[in-house]
C-alpha cells in the first residue's frame, strides 16, 4: 500500500511548479482508475479535469485536504463517476479497458491471459454491483487500504470487507460460468 500523501505547501499557495508536479503525479492514476471503472477514455479525461478544478476551488477557499491528497482526489473522482453514471449508462468497450502488453509475454500465454482478463473484465462489468466494483478496483488495482477505501466511498471498514469478499466470490463464480459457455 502506498503511504498517505500529504498536501504539498506549494499546492496550498497555488505555486505553479508545485501544482504542475501534483497534476503529473495524480492525473494519470486517476485516469486509469476511471478506465477501470468502465468510463470511456474521453469522459475519463473530462472527469480528470473536473477533479483538479474542484481541487483548485478548495485550495482557493483554503479548504483543501489536510492530509492524504491521493485519497482526497480519488474520493472526488469517485463521486464524479457516480454523478456521470446517473446521467447515462456508459461502459467502456473491452479494448479500451484491457490492453495486454504484447511484448512482455510469449504469444500462447499472452493469448490465454488476455482471454482471462477479458472474462474478468466482463464479470466485473456484469456481475458486480457499483459498490462492489469500486471496492475491488480501489483495493486491488489502486492499492488503497481498507480504511482509505472506506473513506473514499463513505462507508465503514467492515462494510468494505463484506463488499470485497462478496465481490471476489461473485467474480470467481462468474468466470467459471463464462468458461462453461452459454
Amino acid at each position: 500500500m502506498k503511504e498517505e500523501s500529504a498536501v504539498p505547501a506549494a499546492a496550498n499557495s497555488l505555486d505553479q511548479d508545485g501544482l504542475a508536479t501534483l497534476f503529473e503525479e495524480y492525473a494519470p492514476a486517476i485516469y486509469k482508475y476511471l478506465l477501470r471503472l468502465g468510463v470511456y477514455a474521453q469522459e475519463a479525461d473530462q472527469i480528470v479535469g473536473d477533479v483538479f478544478a474542484h481541487l483548485l476551488d478548495k485550495l482557493a477557499e483554503a479548504k483543501g485536504p489536510g492530509k492524504n491528497l491521493r485519497s482526497y482526489l480519488f474520493q472526488i473522482a469517485y463521486h464524479l463517476v457516480i454523478d456521470h453514471a446517473r446521467e447515462r449508462e456508459h461502459t467502456a468497450p473491452l479494448e479500451v479497458a484491457v490492453c495486454v502488453n504484447e511484448e512482455m509475454e510469449p504469444v500462447q500465454s499472452m493469448v490465454e491471459e488476455k482471454l482471462l482478463l477479458e472474462k474478468l473484465y466482463i464479470a466485473m462489468e456484469r456481475n458486480l454491483t457499483e459498490e462492489q466494483r469500486n471496492v475491488i478496483v480501489l483495493r486491488f488495482q489502486e492499492d488503497f487500504s481498507l480504511k482509505e477505501t472506506a473513506g473514499i466511498i463513505g462507508i465503514k471498514v467492515n462494510a468494505v470487507k463484506a463488499l470485497q469478499n462478496r465481490g471476489i466470490n461473485k467474480l470467481r463464480l462468474a468466470m467459471d460460468r463464462l468458461d462453461e459457455g452459454p
Binding site: 505547501a9 497555488l14 505553479q16 504542475a20 494519470p28 477501470r36 479525461d45 473484465y121 486491488f140 468466470m175
Partner: protein
C-alpha cells in the same frame, strides 16, 4: 490457466494483472489537461485571492475579485462584508438627505410637485359664513291685486291685480314636476321592485 480451478487468490492475482493492463493517459490529452489546469490556477492566483492556505504561501492582497465571487474569502466573511457595505450605503444616503433637505425640497417643487398648506391666513375683513338657506317648498298663493297710482302730489300707491288662476280640484293647473297621477295608473309613483335574482342553472344530470 483454467478458470475451472479458480479460487479467490487466483481472482485477486488476475485483478492485479488487470491493473497493469490498463492503458496510459494519452500524452496529448494529458498535456492539454495539464495546461488548462495550470492556466486556471494562474487565474485564481492573479485574482488577488489572498490565499490563507495551511502552508502560508505568499499571502496576497486579500482583495475582492479574481475568478471566484469573493476570491479567497469564506462565505461567512463575504456575507458580513456585504452587510457592512449595505449599512454604510444606507447611512450615507440618509445623511446626505438630511444635509441637503432644503435643496431637495426646492428641487421637488421645481419639478411641479405642489404642496398644499392648510394654514389660514389672517384677514381683517369679516368673513361671511356661506350659509345656504334651506330649501322651502313654495305653495301657490293667491296674490292680492296691487294698484299703483302716482299722484301729482308725490304720493304712491300700489295696487296689484292677479291674473293667475287659482287651482281647483278639476283644474289643478300646469305645475311642472307635480303632475298628478291619473286614476288609471294608481301605482305609478311606487318604487320599482327589485329584480329577481337569476335562477341558477340546474346541473346537468347527463
Amino acid at each position: 490457466m483454467s478458470t475451472q480451478l479458480l479460487n479467490s487468490q487466483d481472482v485477486i492475482g488476475l485483478l492485479l494483472k488487470l491493473k497493469d493492463s490498463t492503458p496510459d493517459y494519452p500524452v496529448d490529452l494529458l498535456v492539454a489537461r495539464r495546461a488548462a489546469f495550470l492556466q486556471a490556477a494562474a487565474a485564481i492566483h492573479l485574482g488577488g485571492s489572498g490565499l490563507s492556505g495551511k502552508g502560508g504561501g505568499d499571502g496576497g492582497s486579500g482583495g475582492i475579485g479574481g475568478s471566484g465571487a469573493m476570491g479567497g474569502m469564506s462565505t461567512a466573511q463575504s456575507i458580513l462584508l456585504q452587510a457592512v457595505i449595505g449599512v454604510w450605503v444606507i447611512a450615507a444616503m440618509l445623511t446626505a438627505a438630511y444635509v441637503f433637505r432644503d435643496q431637495i425640497i426646492d428641487l421637488l417643487q421645481d419639478n411641479g410637485i405642489v404642496t398644499v398648506e392648510m394654514t389660514q391666513a389672517p384677514s381683517s375683513e369679516p368673513t361671511v359664513p356661506a350659509t345656504i338657506p334651506p330649501v322651502t317648498e313654495v305653495s301657490p298663493t293667491v296674490s292680492t291685486p296691487i294698484v299703483v297710482t302716482v299722484a301729482p302730489g308725490d304720493s304712491l300707491s300700489i295696487e296689484a291685480t292677479s291674473e293667475i288662476p287659482v287651482p281647483t280640484k278639476d283644474d289643478p293647473g300646469l305645475h311642472l314636476g307635480q303632475t298628478p297621477g291619473s286614476p288609471d295608473t294608481p301605482n305609478q309613483d311606487q318604487p320599482d321592485k327589485p329584480d329577481k335574482p337569476d335562477k341558477p342553472d340546474k346541473p346537468n344530470q347527463d
